[in-house]
Symmetry: C2
Subunit: 299 residues, 2 copies
């Protein structure tokens, strides 16, 4: 599945030079970091930001993330490449709207955390082939243009979904951009993506939200949490700072897979509960030693 | 609860000079890092390591963590200060054995993650006042002498329990050592410590073990986990690498508090499950926005 980065090949496929104009739809953590990376790698000369809230676009301008802000239609008309990174529920209508506007030289891509619902929604659009479905698996618990950082994405996986539904040149350009950003490309169909994403991303967020709620519900002495929380607690609860506006649509779109994993997770927690209640040291030890097998997978 | 670090005052209370000889019982992550720190801060001239396994002590010698390895009795006889950092189930008999050996100038301390059972077990010992009950809230998911690191402990909390049961000079020396290591000292009774530790440490480990087991159970395509896992999954599952030999005794000793928090955690996860099953976007949003309040507490 994984290919090695070949910078020469990647550069060669972009030999027609950088994009003159790129639009990012949404000017937050992902799109902002992507815009910064395009500029750093000299892959875009001019970046237009589209945001439904003026204040956000203005902050992105001030932060130097975008060069200009325009309404969606004008921005798309001026751009060779449009990159959509907004909550996944609004991604579907916005991508459809953009596909209605573009010609067959323009390229559109998204960066959403769920892929199957989008894939289904756009599959019969006449411009489907100009769209590339991507999920760069990088993020932090922060949002908005202030959350955008230099050097994001490097060393992480980027999934490109349903690549056979995109024009080869459009898919290749996206692939090469992500490679130049230091990402490992993984090809997968949308349905499989959503299954795997439930395991390696979505359940971690639910666990973290639930852990925060557990502590906030039961531990009324907030000063004690603040003073005592060490690295372990902070790392497991870090994701609980993530925005509802992003994650509610992800969980809703990936409901079946997320529920499947969540049910298993509750079952696993109940095994810890049962082993403790019964003071079954052997079972408790087995549960932990089994969990330790994650060492093989996560370095 | 928290006091500011006063390095001058801390140094002054150690004005009789560093310890000539200190024994660490257990030569692993915590005791090894503590030994390295004592040497770095010039608080100990000679460090003896006691380990029930010869190979472990030998590795600690080779790594320069300890200067000598001896059986417990000989080590204690030679030492002004004995620091016990071993699994909490063996801490109790070992501390009792050490208290039986010492005179009223020697100092003993432990570093265990649970405090109440130990507190009860030693409370009537005639040498109880030479013992200081401490929990430096630092750790990693690794164990053994190879896991010991320079610069551990700094910036974290250290709980000193039941300080009124220790001789003032003994407690003050421990307090000042931890301050010189850069820790914030929090005083608490053992019972309260164990309640808070269940929230800010023990539940995070159970969640992480259970999450690892969930993924290992359901996600058979291990290559997919390996390739796709981003920062979110890694940070929530990191603790699942932690050793059963350390954590089983912690969970068993703190059983009531851990079960209390674990039950609440399962309840919170079931709320996510119910809101998803019913596609109740408003409830799901409320759950996440409530979790976001952890931002106030964890920076």
């Amino acid at each position: 599945m994984k290919n090695e980065i070949n910078h020469e090949e990647a550069q060669a496929s972009l030999r027609d030079g950088p994009f003159n104009t790129v639009t990012i739809v949404g000017v937050g953590l992902i799109s902002g970091s992507f815009a910064l990376a395009l500029k750093e790698k000299q892959l875009a000369k001019h970046i237009i930001g589209v945001s439904k809230t003026d204040g956000t676009a203005q902050r992105a301008l001030e932060l130097g993330i975008i060069d200009e802000t325009l309404p969606l239609k004008e921005a798309v008309q001026k751009s060779e490449f449009v990159y959509v990174a907004i909550p996944v529920n609004v991604t579907i209508p916005v991508v459809l709207e953009i596909l209605d506007m573009i010609n067959d030289k323009q390229i559109v891509a998204d960066a959403g955390s769920t892929k199957f619902a989008l894939s289904e929604a756009i599959k019969d659009h006449p411009m489907r082939k100009r769209f590339v479905s991507t999920h760069p698996m990088w993020g932090t618990e922060y949002s908005g243009p202030e959350a955008a950082v230099h050097g994001a994405f490097a060393g992480r996986a980027c999934v490109i979904c349903d690549v056979e539904r995109s024009d080869e040149n459009a898919a290749k350009i996206l692939e090469n951009i992500y490679r130049l950003l230091g990402m490992n490309i993984v090809f997968m169909d949308s349905e499989n993506h959503d299954v795997h994403a439930a395991y390696v991303s979505h359940i971690s967020h639910i666990t973290s939200f639930a852990l925060a709620n557990t502590v906030l519900e039961k531990e009324k002495e907030e000063e004690a949490i603040f003073e005592l929380s060490g690295g372990g607690f902070e790392s497991t609860v870090r994701l609980a700072k993530s925005a509802a506006s992003m994650w509610v649509p992800v969980f809703m779109q990936n409901k079946e897979n997320v529920l499947d994993v969540l049910n298993e997770h509750i079952t696993q927690l109940r095994k810890f509960k049962a082993s403790l209640e019964k003071e079954n040291v052997q079972f408790l030890t087995e549960l932990i030693e089994n969990a330790n097998k994650i060492r093989k997978i996560i370095k």
